[in-house]
């Protein structure tokens, strides 16, 4: 092991200048150089008890891959990551590392943790640029499995099953595979060619991907099993159904669910010159919510030319659920944070155009069921924010179609599919995982669930024989 680098801070991530990048959709973070990666890797203490690994939902062998990076063996590092994670270039970019691996890093006790996410990204990008494409096409075991949804849960489950020899078909409702990775997360945070590459990798492994196929309408789960010969089905249908606040004015013309705004931008490429996709170009935009989706929408709106973009969030900075880096980037890009502020009405003119957002100030009271301090309205604090467009990023519920079209599939009141710790649902041979089960969460948790379910499906098929 080379000598440990005792610097208390991470090697900085080179980024595009904030006031340049808030006008384009190219990637914000530019990635480590080899030298920076090796230097950062040397900050790892290679702890015996590996606390970082316990923080990773897919158990990436973190100290092992970092040791390889420190020694300049980048391809070996890639193989270590890839043996447990099928989407390293994605996770390195979108995981909330501060709450996972890096949150448990020993170096974080005094100073900053090792930049595990940035190293993972470096390794994956290095491999994609210089490495050999590893195609592992396993001979078929003759069993057909259907995966519904091509987001992180579905792609991971499909990849793991294909590695075990299963004949996997992935059904996707939209015209492009990738789920939230293509319709939700913007190009400037996760370039779409990275997602395409991951999907291409699955195709090379023999996974069939059928786009434009809405399961629940075109085929029922039952038909997939009885008519099309799939022995097991994995539901990775995500949580796409947007929530609204129930305040007056939500159906006005300039009010959008973040999903709509982001889908128009990302999947439908509204930001490209000459795009056929209509998008509302507000001048002053309020984005309501404090999660990653809110940050993505606010930063996209700024890039689409808005003069001022607000984040309106009812709790304080400490409770913002978004990744720390996204919050920092948003601030650098001149997004205005109006914290402890809650909308009560969207004001409109006679033609239903948005003319303003009426808000109240909040204070934090006692902790609620989520453990976070409950926001309480401050009396007499009503005020008006001058906006012509409101984007709502208040969270999403599981997609409703599978639930409404599948008899015997047990779900919770908000539509979450009920599944045990292995992903088994109330229906024989039907497994589920990701946001469809948990409600809106993270890419990496969905991948973890896809992985667990793949193993459970393998067990199920073996025991059936």
């Amino acid at each position: 092991m080379p000598k440990v680098n005792m610097s208390p801070v991470k090697n900085p991530m080179p980024t595009q200048d904030p006031l340049v990048r808030n006008k384009n959709f190219q990637e914000v973070a530019l990635g480590y150089t080899r030298e920076a990666a090796i230097d950062e890797a040397k900050r790892c203490l290679d702890c015996k008890n590996k606390p970082c690994m316990a923080g990773c939902p897919v158990n990436v062998r973190i100290p092992e891959f970092i040791t390889c990076v420190a020694e300049g063996k980048f391809e070996e590092a890639y193989k270590i990551i890839n043996s447990t994670s099928s989407l390293p270039a994605v996770c390195g970019r979108v995981c909330p590392q501060e709450r996972q691996c890096e949150g448990k890093c020993t170096r974080g006790i005094k100073g900053e943790p090792v930049a595990i996410g940035r190293l993972e990204r470096f390794v994956a990008d290095y491999h994609n640029a210089f490495g050999e494409q590893i195609i592992t096409k396993v001979p078929s075991n003759g069993h057909k499995i259907a995966v519904i949804g091509s987001g992180p849960a579905g792609l991971t489950c499909a990849g793991d099953l294909a590695r075990l020899g299963y004949e996997v078909t992935v059904f996707e409702a939209l015209h492009t595979a990738g789920g939230v990775l293509v319709y939700g997360i913007p190009e400037f945070r996760l370039p779409k060619n990275i997602v395409e590459r991951e999907v291409e990798g699955l195709r090379n492994m023999g996974v069939k991907i059928v786009t434009n196929a809405v399961v629940g309408r075109l085929f029922s789960i039952e038909e997939l099993k009885s008519e099309y010969g799939f022995e097991a089905v994995f539901l990775g249908t995500g949580a796409g159904l947007p929530r609204f606040m129930g305040i007056p004015g939500e159906s006005a013309k300039g009010v959008f669910a973040a999903n709509e705004y982001l889908t128009r931008c990302n999947l439908m490429k509204a930001y490209e010159d000459g795009s056929a996709t209509p998008i509302f170009r507000g001048k002053k935009i309020a984005v309501v919510g404090g999660g990653n989706v809110a940050m993505d929408a606010a930063r996209s709106a700024k890039r689409m030319g808005a003069e001022v973009v607000y984040i309106i969030y009812r709790r304080s900075e400490a409770e913002l659920p978004a990744r720390k880096e996204e919050i920092e980037h948003a601030k650098e890009e001149e997004i205005v944070f109006r914290l402890l502020t809650n909308p009560v009405e969207i004001l409109t003119d006679g033609e239903d155009n948005v003319t303003g957002l009426k808000c109240v100030e909040m204070t934090l009271g006692e902790p609620d069921a989520s453990g976070r301090r409950r926001p309480v309205e401050k009396k007499g604090s009503e005020h008006l924010i001058d906006v012509d467009c409101v984007i709502l990023a208040l969270g999403t519920s599981p997609n409703p179609l599978i639930k409404s079209t599948t008899k015997g599939l047990d779900t919770k009141p908000h539509g979450e599919i009920i599944a045990d710790e292995n992903g088994k649902t109330s229906l024989e041979g039907v497994f589920a995982g990701g946001d469809a089960v948990t409600g809106a969460a993270t890419v990496i948790l969905a991948m973890g669930a896809g992985k667990t379910a793949a193993k459970a499906i393998d067990d199920y098929i073996r025991n059936k024989q």
Binding site: A173, L174, H175, Y183, T211, N212, A213, V214, R217, L218, F219, G240, L241, P242, F244, E250, S251, A252, K253, G254, F256, A257, N259, E260, T263, R264, M268, K269, S275, A276, T277, P278, I279, F280, E351, D352, N399, P400, L401, S404
Partner: protein, 280 residues
């Protein structure tokens, strides 16, 4: 890729395309819709299914040329392909148990009203159809409606064919003369559906309107197609497209339908310019 099996120009602004999509043809029922893209960089637009043939695998859509996407679609020839064609989406129109129904269609909406009338007729229901158009040269599917209805009324705004006026005139006459229906099903422009709902309300006749708002995914994800029904927010793609017309907030729906009017006008203009350049 989905092949265009047949293209028929029904009138100067309305075109019928039969698209090869056997899986959808097998499943689709009256009242359901598809979402399509005319080309790789195009917009996703919803179109209600006008018919399908399980034997040939053809799904028929009938559309009015209004924007850039429908213009591009209109330029496609038989044998050519469109990249995306998704369906069947939405819940089918409820027809079970109905004995006597009035089907009220307006303009290109008649293309969607026809399969509903046919399905009702096949179930032994008595069908009165009222179809309205702006003028004689815009009339579509009159003979088909005649075949699918016990009674047919044709009206035109300018009186160039049939009765002069709007669809509410024969409907009101029927209702005033004591005619009653189990249900009135209306499909067409929002303003027309609003007035059909107004006409039937005093008689307490259940009235269903088929909504066609702006949409992206069609699976309940974008929240774009929200419609206020009885004070509640509903998504046309998964909860509809059919809703109780007496509960729909039509005024709001009319305003929402104009969200992208400016963009669409510009896109149409650009597409026309492009087209002019190409044909020169």
């Amino acid at each position: 890729m989905f092949r265009i099996l047949k293209r028929v120009s029904l009138n100067p602004t309305v075109t019928r395309l039969d698209i090869e999509a056997p899986l959808i043809a097998k499943k689709a029922l009256a009242g359901q819709f598809v979402i399509l893209r005319a080309d790789e960089r195009g917009e996703r637009i919803p179109l209600t299914i006008a018919g399908c043939d399980k034997n040939t695998g053809a799904v028929t859509v009938i559309f009015q040329v209004v924007g850039a996407t429908t213009m591009a679609l209109n330029e496609k020839k038989e044998g050519e392909f469109i990249p995306d064609f998704v369906g069947p989406l939405g819940t089918p129109t409820e027809v079970e148990g109905l004995k006597k129904v009035a089907v009220v269609g307006g303009g290109v909406g008649c293309a969607i009203a026809l399969p509903v009338a046919r399905r009702l007729q096949s179930l032994g229901c008595s069908v009165t159809s009222i179809i309205g158009f702006r003028s004689r040269d815009l009339i579509i599917l009159e003979e088909e409606f005649r075949g699918a209805s016990d009674k047919l009324f044709v009206v035109t705004d300018d009186g160039s064919y049939g009765e002069q006026g709007n669809v509410c005139m024969p409907l009101n006459r029927l209702l005033e003369s004591g005619e009653s229906f189990d249900e009135v099903i209306t499909i067409g422009p929002l303003v027309m559906m609003k007035f059909v709902a107004k006409a039937t309300k005093p008689y307490g006749i259940k009235t269903v309107a088929s909504m066609n708002p702006i949409m992206i995914d069609g699976t309940g994800m974008c929240g774009c197609c929200r419609v206020t029904v009885g004070g509640e927010m509903k998504f046309a793609c998964v909860d509809g497209p059919d809703f109780d017309a007496h509960l729909i907030d039509f005024d709001e729906a009319i305003k929402r339908s104009k969200t992208y009017a400016e963009f669409e006008a510009r896109a149409r203009e650009e597409h026309c310019n492009l087209y002019r350049k190409e044909v020169k």
